[in-house]
């Protein structure tokens, strides 16, 4: 099984999503096994003043530990990290997070571009970037930066998206390795998992 030409050299998965991405994310997280060999880092647009409930909602159907990291928290494999409400989340060299309250980017905090760009910088060609359904162009530039640094890029198939602005913006800005629906993304992750056992 090597449909997507994967290997065991990847260090992290980073995912962005906005309007219409929640169901897809829940489905992906519900299919990933405990002991998944990489950290999954997610920047999702969310209400800025609602600090609670998102992690709990994502956790209902997932076996993985899902956390909103503190500033300077170390990144561990097999854990799902969610950018906290009203903070940007960056990945630093040395494999830990830093948070910030800088101005909004693309009208968003957390901004997907910031998380994707910093992940691309830190993990280079050892990163898989995934961009899902959403209603603005946040994330497109981040996907471009991942691509430029040799990372692997996936966008959700626009026809499957509730709102396809976000994946379409990425597709028009940069070259994307795989255009997949949610079931295929799950297949991709399962294939990836096989390379680590």
């Amino acid at each position: 099984m090597n449909k997507y030409n994967l290997h065991n050299g990847f260090k992290a998965i980073v995912m962005g999503g906005s309007a219409g991405s929640f169901q897809g994310i829940v489905k992906i997280l519900s299919q990933l096994p405990v002991g998944f060999p990489l950290p999954i880092i997610m920047a999702l647009h969310r209400l800025k003043h609602v600090r609670h409930g998102f992690v709990e909602a994502l956790s209902i159907k997932s076996n993985l530990r899902i956390v909103e990291p503190d500033d300077k928290e170390s990144i561990k494999k097999g854990v799902v990290y969610l950018a906290p409400a009203n903070y940007h989340m960056s990945i630093e060299l040395g494999n830990y997070f830093s948070l910030s309250t800088e101005h909004m980017v693309n009208n968003s905090r957390p901004s997907i571009d910031i998380t994707l760009d910093s992940a691309g910088y830190t993990y280079r060609n050892k990163l898989i970037g995934v961009l899902l359904s959403g209603a603005n162009k946040d994330g497109a530039m981040g996907m471009k930066r991942i691509c430029e640094r040799g990372g692997r890029t996936i966008v959700q198939k626009p026809e499957e998206c509730m709102i396809d602005t976000m994946p379409k913006a990425a597709l028009s800005l940069t070259s994307i390795d795989h255009v997949l629906d949610i079931d295929q993304i799950i297949g991709f992750f399962n294939e990836l998992y096989q390379h680590y056992i």
Binding site: H49, R51, E68, P69, D70, D71, K72, E73, P84, N86, Y87, H88, S90, I91, E92, L93, S98, L99, S100, T101, E102, H103, I114, S118, Y121, R145
Partner: protein, 274 residues
């Protein structure tokens, strides 16, 4: 537009700023520092070389640099649950002490948090009993904090936070609209001293009952957070309170065990050992 800066160039910038101007950004967290530098290059239309040249020639550019460098995004009553906790538990506790009540807002930026505090104290009927010190590295933003005047768009967020804080009045009672801006009533800022202060190189000043430093140390690396926490420890009365941002941590700091957690959710700590 320049899309990236090498770490070696970032190091050159921090070295020049330190050597020529005495501000130490060498222990700032890398990603946000890099974004600030990219922003300065873009806003000022500079390359790394021309930025270094401008920083070296001792003209007033360092003030522009500091103003762009420091992150000045803040809200009134950010995290309303924290402000309710302050009103209902923390401040009543401090009032039991038999001494002048002093608060330090470390890294006060454009002053929204100071105003929130003054409103809270005013509504508790103790605004005149508390001395507030507000400090920031950035002189330009301090000037703004002294004469607070905010965009009406920002006031929408502030208003929503105030409602969640369950204040006694309407936020509108504390400002007037002039030329499309919200001008905060100057009376509100009595008993506040604004002071330029460098958390990194400066000493602590005074001894306080309550220090607020929320979402400031996130721009520092862990080594610097550790040093700054020592200064806060030295600037607190025994059993005084320190508040950091909702997603900040100090568990890896040397002085962490000199504090106890009062409220983990809102990151309120109490100094229990000298």
């Amino acid at each position: 537009m320049i899309q990236d800066i090498d770490i070696s160039d970032l190091k050159k910038i921090t070295e020049v700023v330190y050597a020529q101007h005495g501000y130490d950004f060498r222990n700032y967290a890398m990603s946000s520092f890099k974004r600030r530098m990219l922003r300065i290059l873009e806003v000022c239309g500079l390359t790394v070389e021309s930025l270094l040249a401008k920083l070296s020639d001792q003209s007033g550019f360092i003030d522009t640099f500091l103003d762009e460098m420091t992150v000045n995004v803040t809200e009134m009553f950010r995290d309303p649950g924290f402000w309710r906790l302050l009103r209902e538990e923390i401040i009543p506790g401090i009032l039991l002490n038999n001494r002048q009540f002093k608060i330090w807002h470390a890294g006060c930026s454009s002053g929204e948090e100071v105003i929130s505090m003054k409103i809270l104290l005013h509504e508790m009927g103790i605004a005149n009993d508390v001395r507030i010190f507000a400090s920031d590295l950035d002189q330009a933003i301090l000037e703004k904090a002294k004469k607070p005047c905010y965009s009406l768009k920002n006031m929408e967020t502030n208003e929503k936070n105030y409602i969640r804080f369950q204040g006694k009045k309407s936020l509108k009672d504390y400002y007037t609209e002039e030329n499309g801006k919200a001008v905060i009533n100057p009376d509100l800022l009595a008993n506040v001293s604004y002071q330029r202060h460098d958390l990194v190189l400066g000493h602590g000043f005074g001894t306080f009952d309550l220090i607020l430093c929320r979402n400031v140390m996130i721009y520092f690396n862990q080594a610097l957070q550790n040093e700054v926490l020592k200064k806060f420890h030295g600037s607190l009365h025994k059993y005084g309170y320190l508040v950091i941002g909702a997603k900040e941590s100090m568990i890896w700091c040397d002085y962490a065990n000199r504090f106890i957690v009062v409220n983990q959710e809102e990151r309120v700590f109490k100094k229990i050992r000298d």
